[in-house]
């Protein structure tokens, strides 16, 4: 029955309502009343498409986004979610790396020259700040690198977030380059940042003049270079390991195993045969050897430092090759 004119139509479905209408309508004007759902008066969710006429920025802005995402994740919510243990350890290492700064300031205030000689800026102390084995390259820097590189690429594989990058106008070089820079920058904040604080704390606390600065600045820059070499090597090896994995623990543990395991092995061999040549398989020792030669600190290895330099370059070359091959094989459609 059409509700307006009250006529029965052939196409009208026979429902309880129309049967009752027909029955009542045959004898009187009364109509049956049945419960009906209340009319909808509005929609809670209205889907309205809103176009956008903005302009997309060029390549550098996209690269900056990747870099920023990883770097700011250490400090703020809404960016790459680094784990809480990672953040806490970074803070710990940063503070621990400032011990020489604190002692320099303390002894400068106390005014005791002998204590100052122990902790003030000098060849061996600059070397030790960046390349000293215990505790920095045993407990701090490799662990920082391991925690940072752990999931940087492997989690993109396991989460499928590589599709988010490669379905955008981002090429593989930019993708891996920005991640590399971000991870290296976080390490640089700790290693090089504290080195700079150490050097400038000495200038300020002891009231150093230009003559001292001109005398020590090349040494400081060389130490900075050695720090960069250390960061680059740890990052290259770590990211290569991250790119071959789907988990975040394997790359970190493997990096620690490479850095500390090779050193332990070489140390055992040296203890038994009094030969330091096997230190060439240890990334840390190779960098340390190069650092000792460049900074002019006490040499601890028998073989030529150029061999160690070649070893460092080889570590980086192999790592970057593995990294590039693995990243170029990352998929958009499935992993």
């Amino acid at each position: 029955m059409s509700e307006e004119n009250g006529e029965l139509e052939a196409s009208m479905p026979v429902t309880g309502q129309s049967r009752m209408d027909a029955a009542w309508g045959a004898e009187s004007d009364s109509v049956a009343s049945v419960a009906r759902p209340a009319n909808q008066t509005g929609q809670v969710f209205e889907q309205v498409y809103k176009p956008w006429n903005g302009t997309l920025n060029p390549r550098w802005m996209r690269n900056w986004a990747i870099f920023r995402h990883h770097l700011l994740g250490i400090f703020r919510k809404g960016h790459r979610p680094w784990g809480v243990p990672t953040k806490l350890f970074l803070i710990f290492v940063f503070i621990a790396s400032l011990t020489d700064v604190a002692l320099t300031l303390l002894f400068a205030i106390l005014g005791d020259p002998s204590l100052y000689e122990l902790w003030g800026v000098g060849r061996n102390n600059l070397y030790a700040h960046v390349l000293g084995f215990f505790p920095r390259n045993m407990l701090y820097y490799p662990l920082v690198a391991a925690l940072l590189v752990g999931g940087v690429i492997s989690e993109d594989r396991s989460n499928g977030t590589s599709a988010l990058y490669f379905s955008r106008p981002i090429n593989r070089f930019d993708y891996v380059g920005m991640k590399y820079l971000a991870v290296a920058s976080i390490q640089a904040l700790i290693i090089l940042g504290t080195l700079m604080l150490y050097y400038f704390a000495d200038i300020l606390s002891m009231g150093r003049g230009w003559a001292w600065i001109i005398d020590t600045f090349p040494m400081f820059l060389t130490t900075m270079f050695c720090g960069v070499l250390l960061i680059v090597t740890y990052t290259s090896i770590g990211l290569a390991l991250s790119s071959v994995s789907r988990g975040k623990f394997f790359p970190g543990i493997a990096l620690l195993a490479i850095v500390l395991g090779t050193k332990t092995l070489a140390a055992i061999v040296e203890g038994l045969f009094d030969k330091s040549i096997l230190y060439l398989i240890s990334p840390y020792d190779s960098i340390a050897h190069v650092g000792q030669a460049l900074i002019g600190a006490n040499m601890m290895y028998d073989h030529p430092w150029v061999w160690s330099l070649v070893s460092v370059l080889a570590f980086n070359a192999i790592s970057l090759y593995v990294l590039s091959v693995r990243v170029s094989s990352m998929e958009v459609t499935r992993e």
Binding site: H79, L164, T333
Partner: protein, 336 residues
């Protein structure tokens, strides 16, 4: 290459050594919604990667929104929105920040990206949930978030890879409605791949059917459905006799109990059916055109037409002829 098509390929071929993943594909995807269908291994994923400019085609050419797929991959990926089939979200991020980051990766500045992320999340129905971490989302919410990531920059073309995969009825309905609205209210184009014919039928006007890297059919779904036109009759009494009579008359009959489907064979098919019924004394209680579903169409094309059909026009113009075009030798074709 014309403005009429959002995606256009000519003789596009992609080989991995001896394995040919895409075999001389000449596809024209019109504006609006188009479904990409094909069984596993048909070449859908390779097709997507090729048109996104992520892998180089072995031969042939193609364009997406007027950009060459061989040389302008970055431009293509700036203008399209890709929604991957598999997980593509960082579980530990809030949804709004994930969507904002996907905008930043396109080159949007952070403030604009955040504003658009709110709009996109609102559009996909997650406005109230946008600050929740993704690991607390259901599959449907995750799919909606992926769609928000894809549409943040208001792309002209959205490529959705299995958008309703793994969704329950409500979430699936919501996803398909959203895609439908993108096309019909938003004026955008959608290319969606799916194993679910119903989904494609609901959202899309056109479809492309791939099989073993070759194009099996393409065109408007409405036109393609007409290939398999049948008349359905409900018979009462003498059904066997009627079936035999129609068979003798040269009609192609499929029967299930009292229901028979007769393949459309020219204008006088109905008349011939009625004549057979009159001759045998069978009662036809009901007679109507049977509309094939996309599922039926898929099966028909896959099983009966083989690989050689280049377009729906081939199928519609002369089905018998089409069966021979490029069909294997044992099916009567040239085997090319």
């Amino acid at each position: 290459m014309t403005d009429e098509w959002v995606i256009e390929t000519k003789e596009l071929t992609k080989s991995y050594g001896p394995h040919v993943a895409l075999d001389s594909l000449s596809i024209n995807v019109p504006k609006g919604a188009t479904g990409l269908l094909g069984p596993n291994g048909a070449g859908k994923s390779t097709f997507f990667k090729t048109i996104l400019g992520l892998i180089q085609a072995t031969s042939g050419e193609g364009s997406v929104l007027g950009h060459d797929i061989r040389t302008e991959g970055l431009d293509i990926r700036s203008k399209i929105g890709y929604m991957p089939e598999y997980e593509a979200l960082d579980d530990n991020m809030d949804a709004i920040h994930q969507v904002r980051y996907s905008g930043e990766l396109l080159g949007m500045n952070p403030v604009v990206a955040m504003a658009r992320a709110h709009t996109a999340m609102e559009y996909v129905g997650l406005g109230e949930l946008r600050y929740r971490p993704i690991n607390s989302f259901s599959t449907g919410m995750r799919q909606a978030t992926k769609l928000a990531c894809a549409i943040i920059h208001d792309p002209q073309l959205i490529i959705a890879d299995e958008p309703s995969n793994g969704l329950d009825a409500t979430a699936r309905d919501s996803m398909l409605t959203t895609l439908y609205n993108m096309v019909h209210s938003g004026g955008r184009s959608v290319l969606m791949s799916s194993h679910l014919m119903e989904d494609v039928e609901r959202v899309c006007d056109s479809m492309v059917l791939l099989h073993k890297g070759k194009l099996a059919a393409q065109g408007r779904i409405e036109d393609l459905k007409a290939i398999d036109r049948e008349i359905e009759i409900h018979v009462w009494g003498s059904a066997n006799e009627l079936e035999q009579a129609m068979g003798k008359d040269g009609l192609d009959v499929r029967r299930e109990g009292r229901i028979m489907r007769i393949k459309h064979d020219g204008e006088n098919t109905t008349h011939r059916i009625l004549k057979c019924a009159a001759d045998t004394g069978a009662q036809i209680r009901r007679m109507h055109e049977y509309e094939a579903s996309l599922e039926d169409l898929f099966i028909v094309i896959m099983e009966r037409f083989g690989y050689g059909v280049k377009s729906s026009e081939d199928l519609l113009a002369s089905p018998a002829e089409a069966r021979r075009v490029d069909a294997p030798e044992h099916m009567g074709g040239s085997g090319s």
